[in-house]
């Protein structure tokens, strides 16, 4: 019988910060979203203080101070690197692994692998990376998710729970439908109206009725709860369908020049990602918007699209298209809060059909790869396109960011010898 394990990093962003800063251990820690807007990660101590996910930082400033909450800006370079380390540690012990998100992975287990294997896995990730993880084991991915949740909710289990080693009904009866993977709040409310409140209720529900009411997705969840695996392990990452970059400005911006600088920077970033993934983009969308949370000021939002034929991964081409899209949608007299770019209809770079007489732009691609290499080596945006601007006054606020300990030579952890 196949069994799945879900390995989930505990409070991942906070845990990453704690690896490099012992002063954050055993105290409440929160990590804020881009632009220091709202809480996106909380340590257990912060959860106990009642701090909610998504809580706006500025409204809670006093409360944070009163309770000695350590507040950090998000440091995605660090989290990305630590995530890669966690995943490759898992790979040393498991052959089949699906990286499900930055802090979660599904594993398919061998027959002999159970709780003690999960404990070894957990210990190794902790030792090699410093990151604490929880492991849930189930007959299906849905059940593995629930087992993981159970392990997290019950500290005496020490981070591991094997739902296949116990009679599951008693546990499923204590998990609400809303907490099942794939069941949203609306669906949970719909189920509650007919008396289906817990995972056990849903497991016992009439499958054809579920299919009629919730469609094939709901049916699949019900089957998975019954131990019938319907969602296989996806070991190969599904090729990216879109790459996007959008941020809020540190403060509101009116001039097209400032927006253009921000947009060009985002485009340079997505173009780098495109090339790193060996992809070409066929379409681009650019948008601008004012601040919807300031209804007293005039509101405007707009987007525009462009198609590339042939598909491209070249920054200059992408930036000049992006700027002309921006010019089409920009209206003076508004206080803009956000701009962004999305590249869609991505295709693998080696599948381009270069038309017979088209000149391959070898020089251009070579220049591009040199620029990418320098930026990787010397830090993002060392070599930048003129349209990205030099001052970057629109830049996002990240006042409390920790060092990029694992990705920048000049930001290494400094350790005193005395």
């Amino acid at each position: 019988m196949t069994r799945f394990a879900l390995v989930d990093c505990n409070n991942f962003y906070c845990s990453c910060e704690r690896v490099f800063n012992p002063r954050l251990i055993s105290v409440p820690v929160v990590v804020l979203s881009n632009n220091d807007g709202c809480v996106v990660a909380r340590s257990e101590e912060a959860k106990k203080l009642g701090i909610k996910m998504g809580a706006p930082a500025f409204k809670n400033e006093a409360m944070f101070k009163r309770n000695g909450v350590q507040v950090l800006s998000s440091n995605y370079a660090l989290y990305g690197d630590m995530s890669a380390r966690v995943m490759s540690t898992l790979r040393t012990m498991a052959e089949h692994i699906e990286v499900y998100s930055i802090d979660e992975a599904f594993l398919s287990l061998e027959d002999s692998q159970g709780e003690s294997f999960a404990r070894e896995l957990r210990a190794r990730v902790r030792q090699w990376t410093g990151i604490p993880v929880s492991v849930g084991i189930g007959a299906t991915k849905t059940l593995a998710k629930l087992a993981n949740r159970w392990a997290k909710k019950n500290p005496h289990l020490n981070g591991v729970f094997d739902l296949t080693a116990v009679e599951p009904d008693e546990i499923l009866a204590r998990i609400e439908c809303e907490d099942i993977w794939g069941i949203g709040r609306r669906t949970a409310a719909k189920l509650a109206r007919v008396g289906i409140r817990t995972a056990l209720d849903l497991r016992r529900a009439d499958i054809p009725w579920i299919r009629d009411e919730l469609g094939v997705v709901g049916e699949r969840i019900a089957r998975e709860l019954n131990g019938i695996s319907c969602v296989e392990l996806e070991e190969l990452p599904v090729s990216k369908k879109a790459i996007a970059s959008a941020r809020s400005f540190g403060h509101q911006v009116e001039s097209i020049e400032k927006i253009q600088q921000a947009l060009s920077t985002y485009i340079a970033r997505v173009a780098e990602k495109l090339r790193a993934g060996k992809l070409l983009a066929s379409r681009m969308e650019v948008f601008v918007e004012t601040n919807p949370f300031k209804p007293e000021s005039p509101q405007y939002h707009a987007s525009a699209q462009a198609t590339f034929m042939p598909p491209t991964d070249q920054t200059p081409e992408l930036i000049s298209s992006g700027i002309s899209l921006l010019r089409r949608i920009y209206r003076p007299g508004f206080q803009y809060k956000k701009t962004g770019v999305m590249l869609t209809d991505l295709i693998p770079g080696d599948r381009v059909q270069m038309s017979l007489f088209e000149e391959g732009d070898g020089q251009q691609s070579h220049l591009q790869s040199v620029v990418d290499q320098l930026n990787r080596k010397l830090g993002q945006n060392t070599i930048r396109y003129a349209s990205m601007g030099m001052e970057q006054t629109w830049k996002m606020r990240q006042l409390r960011k920790s060092h990029c300990y694992t990705t920048h030579w000049d930001e290494l952890l400094v350790v005193g010898t005395s």
Partner: protein
Amino acid sequence: MIVDPPVPLERRTSRPIPLFATVPAGFPSPADDYVEKSIDLNEQLVRNPTSTFFVRARGDSMRDAGIASGDILVVDKAVTAADKQIVVAMLDGEFTVKRLRRRNNRVFLESGNQDFPPREITPDQDLVIWGVVTFVIHQPK
């Protein structure tokens, strides 16, 4: 919020040299059979890329153990610290680099400098070994 999916770990950053020389005239180079991959320092310094971190040392108390202020330490978290190894440790909420000594169930942190006496770790102190220093990268003056 945009979160990139994690990228596969590839920490080896050797400078590639061409494995096959181009020979315009068509005569094979006599060296072709002997071309090897160039030496990669990471192979020597980083045994386990997943668990290896670089940190910078500050201070003189490990001078006689070969660690000068400003040196880069290669630290492997996967290695379980044994007696006499140099470790990066968290002691009561502060990072430090010291030589670990275990004698008759007692634990000491030793400096590499005569001016600093060894320090015994008492049971009420909080000591966590963060990783073992496997190499020291030092730039001579």
